[in-house]
């Protein structure tokens, strides 16, 4: 049992997967960093991606398996698909999920559909690791989450861990999984830490997690929103309001049963998602609950999301944009009074 940051937990899962299966490879921009073709000199592993998550892999596993790419996402995502189909287990890095648009076709029409439309003979065991989230003062094009774009597409799996434990366990599973998985890492969570057993087993995709048991209100928290949900629950506990926090952890497949159970218990639900609201994951979960737990609901589900705007840069505006602990507390109080 060791305390690990999310960043290190991900690195651990990568190393372990590389060691366990020689078919695992990694492709992305500057993931080795500072080391190009053999004949040139430079400090190896200077980067490991912009957040240093893959540092050390190049040195350990070499340039054949840890492959710096050009800024050609459509190219290397396509390559990952072909490599996956023919036996490798490629992991590709989309440096920020905001760049989803330059290689969305590869995920939507090839990775997701190859198996289905060619009659089930093929599989595409690839993982896209990508970085999501606001709160970094990174502006409109480096702060999105875009969970729903990928969750909408049949054939893709979508995973978004909150803590280091889940990050490691879910990444191990994602790499072993035979379907294409989008693994979303939140930039504001990389340096957060928790206990992670050294021999942590893979955590199955499609299984959510009750982060806190409670009886009055269910808070369904999407990735980083678990932080605020926890803060809110702590505050609310002081005034004797008991919150249950459900972290779905994987959005496709979604652990509907776990959600329904909690809703049955509390009858009051808040969904917190830092994404834009329309056709969001929050909308999906809210509509699912509203339909399937209609008679259990004592009040309307409340969604707390970002507004329908791009992510603004300036701190006061960005802080306003992101759902806050206060908004959750207010919503819970409102629900409690129903």
């Amino acid at each position: 049992m060791t305390i690990k940051t999310v960043k290190d937990a991900i690195n651990d899962a990568l190393v372990q997967s590389f060691e366990e299966d020689k078919n695992v490879i990694l492709m992305g921009e500057d993931i080795a960093g500072g080391k190009g073709r053999e004949q040139y000199q430079g400090t190896q592993d200077a980067w490991g991606g912009p957040f240093g998550v893959t540092q050390g892999l190049y040195t350990k596993f070499g340039g054949e398996r840890v492959r710096d790419t050009t800024i050609a996402e459509a190219g290397f995502f396509g390559a990952a698909i072909g490599a996956a189909m023919t036996g490798l287990r490629p992991i590709v890095e989309l440096m920020y999920v905001d760049f989803a648009g330059v290689c969305f076709d590869q995920m939507m029409n090839q990775a997701a559909k190859v198996r289905y439309m060619f009659g089930g003979k093929q599989k595409v065991p690839m993982v896209v690791r990508t970085v999501v989230g606001a709160g970094f003062r990174a502006g409109s094009e480096h702060s999105q989450t875009l969970y729903s774009l990928y969750t909408h597409i049949p054939g893709l799996k979508v995973v978004a861990p909150y803590d280091a434990y889940d990050a490691k366990g879910l990444l191990l599973s994602s790499i072993k999984d035979d379907d294409p998985v989008i693994f979303m890492e939140h930039k504001r969570l990389y340096m957060t830490s928790c206990e992670v057993p050294d021999d942590l087993k893979p955590i199955p995709l499609g299984k959510g997690r009750i982060r806190r048991e409670g009886s009055d209100v269910t808070i369904i928290a999407i990735q980083r929103m678990n932080l605020f949900a926890e803060e809110a629950a702590n505050e609310l506990e002081k005034i004797n309001i008991s919150c249950e926090i459900v972290d779905p952890r994987t959005y496709s497949p979604l652990d509907e049963e776990l959600i329904f159970q909690s809703v049955k218990k509390t009858g009051k639900v808040i969904v917190v998602d830092e994404s834009n609201p329309k056709c969001s994951l929050a909308s999906e979960i809210s509509s699912l609950i509203s339909e399937k737990c209609f008679s259990d609901l004592k009040a309307a589900v409340i969604k707390i999301t970002a507004p329908h705007t791009p992510v603004p840069f300036s701190p006061p505006m960005e802080d306003f944009y992101i759902p806050s602990t206060k908004k959750i507390i207010d919503a819970v109080k409102k629900l409690k009074d129903v």
Binding site: G78, T86, K157
Partner: protein, 325 residues
Amino acid sequence: MIEKQKINWIYKKIFTIRFFEERIKKIAKEKTVPGYLHTCIGSEAICVGVMAALNQDDWISSTYRNHGHAIAKGCELNEITSEIYGRKTGICKGRGGSMHISDFSKGMLGSFGIVAAGPAVVLGAALQEKINKSYKTCVSFFGDGAIHNGAFHEAAGLAKLWDIPMIFVCENNGYAEATATDWHLNTKELSDITKAYDMLSYIGDGNNVFEVYDITKKAINEAKQKNTPIFLEFKNYRFSGQYEGDTQLYQPQEEIDKAKQNDPIKLAKENSSKYGLNKNDLEKIINEAKEEVDKAFDFADTQPWPQPEDALEDVYVNYPVEINR
């Protein structure tokens, strides 16, 4: 010299493809075949010439215009036809249709409906071959229209950078939909596009199956020897419309007439004695090809439709939640 067996194979395939496409064109006119049909009349020599240089387990990718590639790569005629008809026994269980005919077990990575999606996928397969040191040949087929697309460029650049010995096969059939190739060309030759990557390229007569075969075979050897991708441009003519039903008004009659003189089937017939086939041999092959095509269509006609709920299968290898809602 090519072995007798390969010559027979080439002739058999080239006729099979032509008959197959003619038959499907006819049926498309007479009764409704569901969906879009993109036939490849005029491409037979490219399909067969390239595939003659490959092994069964080498990898290729194709496009919506894939019947010829699928037949040449060894996919079952019955299954292809059944797929086009939308039947349960189709090569993709009826899920793909004409645009997505593909059989992984025959070395087809897929027939992609998105222009220029294939090259990068093949790049990945070739990367895998390189990493696993198994060195199967990897070929991506695409059209003259695809070279303008960014996805092609990204794949080409990475293939060269990573010293991947894959073969890019561009079928320059004169048109991308209703747009003539040269209306959109910035360079003298289409294959000049590879200069951006300092990539080797060769131009061949796409109507001459033996020339296609020779060039491809040499290119495969050279690519593997030099550890480098190679781009092949084969020039031919798209006698078919973009799809069945296309009026083709934009194709001038003189152009079509001129192209007919180099029809790949006509050339193959003319060349047959040179390759040791006498009239009888040829006739025998032609009849066999015809018969097999006929049988495939008869087969498809009798095949059962899929169950509606079959739509729900094969989305994932493993998905622990109901997808029917």
